[in-house]
Subunit: 192 residues, 2 copies
DNA sequence: ACAATACCAGACAGATCTGTCTACTGTCGG
DNA sequence: CCGACAGTAGACAGATCTGTCTGGTATTGT
């Protein structure tokens, strides 16, 4: 049980918050352990007794990013009942995400760019992408389209493309353009 | 003038070829100078007398990638005369690209994920993306659409999204799905 | 009161990375 | 024939990175 007399969060949480900011802003490889413990205000030994290795901290960072995405998207989708609205809500949420100050693209794509093929990064990324695709597939099926998996594949591509455009071209309006394309695809998709 | 008595390419070209392979496969930050000179069969001093720094080698690597893209896409587009075919030819070319063994996503997106904001990577990436967007815009205008820049923005997003999907989901068929979506967008875009 | 726990500060080892420097080798033009 | 040049091999400096270890401090449960 961590001490909670002070109002500060536990060392574990401070470490994860510092890692989240620094890894996302500057890249997993660029940011060293020393930068993280300095920002977290935590001793190096505490990091290693808590997370064991940098690789495990990276895994926790991506897992946290995934959980944040799940919360964001399920919250957005849950605001509506109409299946078409629920699908478009994902893109509305994306519009807010890419407009946030400090947006720097998809954490999973970025981390995968610097990680080796079979490691923790690939594993968590695959899980997160699979969850996202399933969300699209479920909602597409609820919308009554004939091939929900195919529509989901298209919408995921728009989702990814919008994040790349927002990051690389510093153009947050890309997400709105993706939403418009998504509406077109949803409305022209053959129904069962 | 480099010596050409042997059939080997110059040290400069061997270095660039080695850097291209290794940087793309494993990431700019992960691959050290020693790995590159070892694969190129070149002395370390030669690398530094030729390129000056690792950063300049990275810039040359990305410039080479950009030139390859220009050659690939202009070649693909040039096979057709009908504006619609010329636009779709870009996606046909993409289908071949992502199906190639060792495809690992967009070199510019990947390099940007590990580079700082204002450096050589950002500069070359911006130039390449601008060229690509202009290609789409020019062809969209030739196709007679009312808002060629807007259609180009959409098509670039599909282009990026397909590369992300092909890389992250190991799904080369994503590029074909992007081509189908592109055709829909081109055909439904308002004409002038 | 006291042992366990959680944490901090920082030295340290060992590896690795970029970039420089020295010394040597082969080739070619004049 | 010889000086200029391009390149090789590898030692080296200096920085940085991960991970370990020592020693000290404060809080907590019993």
């Amino acid at each position: 049980m961590p001490s909670q007399t002070t109002s500060q969060p536990s060392a574990r949480e401070r470490l994860l918050a510092a890692a989240d900011e620094l890894f996302y802003e500057e890249g997993v490889h660029t940011v060293g352990i020393d930068r993280i413990i300095e920002r977290a205000g935590v001793a190096k030994a505490t990091l290693y007794s808590t997370y064991g290795s940098k690789d495990e901290l990276v895994r926790s960072y991506l897992t946290r990013r995934h959980e944040a995405r799940v919360a964001r998207l399920t919250g957005a989708v849950g605001q509506y009942t109409d299946p078409r609205d629920r699908l478009l809500a994902i893109f509305e949420s994306l519009e807010k995400t890419v407009a946030r100050h400090g947006f720097r693209g998809c954490a999973f794509v970025n981390a995968s760019a610097e990680a080796s093929a079979g490691g923790a990064v690939a594993e968590v990324s695959a899980r997160s992408r699979s969850w996202t695709r399933d969300l699209f597939t479920t909602e597409a099926a609820a919308a009554g389209v004939a091939a929900p998996a195919a529509l989901a594949e298209q919408l995921v591509m728009l989702y990814d493309g919008a994040m790349v455009a927002a990051q690389m071209d510093q153009n947050p309006k890309a997400a709105g353009a993706a939403r418009v394309m998504a509406a077109l695809l949803i409305d022209t998709a053959p129904r069962a």
